[in-house]
Amino acid sequence: MSTASTTLPSAGPVAGSRSFFSRLREGDEIARMITFVFAASVVILTVLLVFELWNGSSLARHKFGLAFFVTRVWDPVFEQFGALPFIYGTVVTSVVALVLAVPLGIGAAIFLAELAPARVSDTLQFFIDLLAAVPSVIYGLLGLFIVVPLMREYVQPALKNTLGFLPLFQGPAYGLGFLTAGIVLAIMVIPYIISVSREVLLSVPRDQREAALALGSTRWESTWKVVVPFARTGIMGSIFLALARALGETMAVSMVIGNAPTISASLFSPGDSIASIIANQFSEATGELYTQSLIELGLVLFLLTFILNGLARILILATTQRGSDMGNA
């Protein structure tokens, strides 16, 4: 009895260790499982995030319904909440930022990757990485104390005198507003565009360039007609990254946008963005409906990012399709 009882439990660990070793031998399987869990955690996090935002805004969703998207009033005292001015501000500032940053960033990346000597390129890349690491509150301060006065004193009067017939450049020049926020955002996202685009351009195979040169194209022709189209998908990726950063940027925007929930065709007008109002008002928000409306704004921002990313993806798909068609023709 006693021997049986001592041998029986020992069988367990032996069997266990054998299967443990056999599982170890199949290391591929373990690695697959572990990395799968890691990858799945991203999806789980996203779902949890949406669920929390959805759940936390139930009262506001039921009260305002779809009208939340088109209401222009944001009144914490009388508890009337609408997201329209904030959606407008977020989209307008991001668009202004991309319009300014994309040509500049891609141009700089082309120079660094294709035309500049390696040493210059690496040194400049160091500074660009440094810029990308600057906290956004620093950009906000820079915007408030340098860009805003410059805009008010020089840029906005100049724009008004030359392009003032456009509705974009009318109204009083406060210095703060959509245009200034867009410019500060552009300064913030340019390093991302340059950094990623440069890497992508550098990774274009040498044969591509050499083939173009061998066919008699100039250096610029090989860059613009062969290398850049080859790297197009990667460059678009850098623009996504920039767009995502611009949409969600909070601190710097809230310091220069003027924080007045207005919808105006003029880029000189002060406005407000979704991220900015959440950051501004959440800590002092009292009352269920008020807090929940702010949470619903978070949901709206999530949705907006989703839609804009989707639109950008469709746009890319369309352009790359056309590009390859042209290549075939």
């Binding site: 009033v73 944001w74 009144d75 914490p76 005292v77 009388f78 009337q80 408030l144 104390f145 805003v148 006065p149 008010r152 009083p172 406060y174 210095g175 703060l176 809230s254 310091m255 003027g258 924080n259 007045a260 002060p270 407000d272 900015s276 950051a279 501004n280 008002q281 959440f282 800590s283 002092e284 928000a285 009292t286 009352g287």
Partner: protein, 342 residues
Amino acid sequence: MKRIAAILLVTFGVATFFVARAALSITGAGATFPYPMYSKWFEEYHKKDSSIEINYQSIGSGGGIRQVTEGTVDFGATDGPMNDEQLKAFQDKHGFPVLHFPTVLGADVPTYNIPGVSAELNFTPEALAGIFLGRITKWNDPAIAGANKGVNLPGNDIIVVHRSDGSGTTYIWTDYLSKVSEEWKNKVGKGTSVNWPVGLGGKGNEGVSGLVKQTPNAFGYVELIYAVQSKMLYGSVKNSSGAFIKADLGSVTAAAAGAVKTMPDDFRVSITDAPGKTAYPISSFTWLLIPSKFSDAGKRDALKGFVKWMLADGQNYTEALSYAKLPKEVVAKEEKALNNIQ
């Protein structure tokens, strides 16, 4: 890696050692406006009685009310008193009420930047409400110029600047405007954030003062302490007795003293537009929110001990930090109210 782990371990060990040494740790959260005062008080009180450590997180008044209601902190702090609905929510959740204890006083001052004007301007309540409603748009409007004879005010457009973040400063300002202007009360109301009829928003006192300083013809409001410490130009405001009063520690305390007679037993009182010849009209208390029942007798006695000390010796620290101290009448009333904490 190993070294980092070792450093972390040592730090953690040292931290737990110190935490373990403090016999009693009390946590609070809430208003940012009195934070410098509170942290000074908690530090001094810890020096006096090293067995008690009070941790305070300045997360904003709204957060303070939320957290004390949730019961995640031992006490809260707020710049605007809890409303009846919030008091009821606390009572329903815990079965006993939460009490307000005024600690110090603050005030808002009007500040401006008019090219060529360095005088301290006088503002009537009508002028302040008119400017913030967007009815008065020029600096030389009779409503402003009438109270400032001898100052050459330009005909430029006024650029209104307000706080963009929710804040007790805004609560005091809008509470005042609601009292002096029927139109403001009905159209905009009072709150830590409101639907501003006009103007640009700056984040924090520094955001508002930054905008006012760099924008010609701007007009905004900031906390008195901030205006004093950053040596800003600010105006006087006409009080309910008809006198133009410049905000300072004395005139703010006078406003509290003027309101003592009408002060309810729960201390939830607004002292904007308070009676009194020398009272500054845009003043306010800031409050601690203390539950009236504690399950932990040690915490209860420690917190009561602190409030008692704060009302007596603690008040001597206020003026060095530019906070106005409580009038004697309020102190006496609070000492009595302390007995309601069980």
